[in-house]
Symmetry: C2
Subunit: 302 residues, 2 copies
């Protein structure tokens, strides 16, 4: 099987109560791909960067088994850049700078060699671009997972609703589930979102964990209490990458296996937040991940 990830590959500059970074590698597709790379090796990427994007960053992705034939490099243009500052409690953040640059007119071109993809992860992007990717695949993947955010519900709700009819799994946070459904009760919100297209919904609750739900069943993955939370940037994308990467590696789309995928995604996200940016995602191994999954198991077992 192969896994295709779409999203931003970009620069981030991050400030948290524990420090700040210069421009470092970031973007949804970066976190998704790095996270998935611990589970499956046939990884493809569709994204766009500018001429300013360092070749060593691309080499880094390649070294993790991520094929970047679908990474467009726009001559004379600049990469997407986001800068943000987290509040003291790490639960909120202010965006300081958003420079769309190459993202403003991103046309997601799918290399012919990517056409056989069985797993598709649509990272947070304009819903129109997400839809274009689905439409440009000759054969529908076995599983399509979409991540989005409140911003697109505010400015592109009809586009978002249309692409939702074409996906299998949606990942959003609890406030976004409430906004999308118009229901304040989270379970009712989930049930309504499940009528909008996705057969399965994952509600991300940050430090409180995640809820996996379909029409028949539900599963609650706890948030692992961590001594050090340095930087929440990319945690949701890392979760999504671990989730779909685990599913791709097992080939089992049952609800029981999706539970395990959610735990593996949560484990990856817990590593992500312990250091700045992608730093902690570069030096993991299978044993570390297995140990952390075991911590989740111990945490909820009674």
């Amino acid at each position: 099987m192969s896994l295709l990830s779409i999203g931003t590959v970009a620069f981030d500059a991050i400030e948290t109560p524990f420090g700040k970074t210069d421009k470092i590698i970031g973007g949804a597709a970066t976190y998704i791909s790095l996270s998935a790379s611990y589970f499956t090796q046939n990884l493809n990427l569709v994204a766009v960067v500018g001429e300013d994007f360092p070749a060593e960053y691309i080499a880094l992705l390649n070294s993790k088994g991520i094929n970047t034939d679908g990474l467009q490099i726009k001559k004379g243009e600049k990469s997407f850049f986001w800068s943000g500052k987290y509040h003291n409690d790490m639960n909120g953040r202010d965006t300081l700078i958003t420079e769309l640059n190459v993202l403003a007119d991103f046309d997601p071109i799918i290399p012919a060699s990517y056409q056989n993809c069985e797993y598709l992860m649509l990272g947070n992007l304009t819903p129109m671009v997400q839809e274009t990717v689905i439409n440009r695949l000759a054969k529908r993947p076995k599983l399509v997972v979409l991540d989005t955010m409140n911003f697109w519900m505010d400015v592109a709700l009809e586009d978002l609703k249309r692409v939702l009819t074409k996906v299998d799994v949606l990942t959003i946070n609890d406030e976004e589930a409430r906004q999308l459904s118009g229901e304040s009760n989270l379970l009712k919100a989930a049930r309504k979102v499940l009528t909008m297209g996705p057969k399965t919904l994952i509600i991300k609750k940050g430090e409180h964990g995640a809820l996996l739900i379909n029409d028949n069943d539900k599963f609650y993955a706890p948030g692992l209490p961590l001594e050090e939370v340095f930087d929440p940037t990319g945690a949701g994308d890392t979760f999504a990458g671990g989730f779909i990467g685990y599913l791709a590696s097992t080939g089992d789309l049952s609800f029981e296996n999706m539970k395990r995928a959610v735990i593996h995604g949560s484990a990856m996200a817990s590593f992500c937040v312990e250091k700045f940016g992608t730093e902690n995602l570069l030096n993991l191994n299978k044993q570390m991940i297995a140990d952390r999954v075991a911590e989740f198991s111990k945490l909820v077992n009674f």
Copy 2:
């Protein structure tokens, strides 16, 4: 074994997005005792009400096996009254009226027949009153659990810190754990609170569940997603009553058994919020509770 509960027995008037009540029976000790009554029968209560408190409410408590010899009835005075209105998302509320009445000079007198208590639940009250109860027991109970809130951290922090050195288990919410410790990271906050007296800490997270933690171990009980959340009033007290009631019924104070106690407390709280006030706590049975505990198990098992 016997379980002694201290706290308010009072009137509440509640408004939620789903309706409003006239003055109904409320108060921390009411919820604690009713919840615990499903687990253990040797239940004693120390509290104070005014002459306005209906005899049938007291008879109701008695019918659930709750001894009210320790319930002082002040002639010519009025019962504690609280009125509040919940926000649309049910996660916040405004206090509309607080009439201390009999609570203003509450002196917790322990009947001689209560002196043998093995389990002591100190519901949310002035820390001085909570401490007085501990001091008036000739023999230290096997387990002392204390519930408190941010208000006492604001106005009586030194009193609270002193009583904390005398208790085994503390229950507070996540914001209160941060306030009490001065640590924004929840795990660090917990570790610091565990140096202040309690050997075990329960951090209540409302709809997100609860975290049980001691120096060596931690356990996360999920929040059960519910279709109907009518009224969160008393949920924390109901949780505490189920927790200590389960421990009293089993006599096992190991961390493993405390996990089960947290789940039983969470199950009781989940019933509480499904109807107004104490309504849902009056008509449960052991099978309904066992079924709900099984739902928690199913929710987290992977």
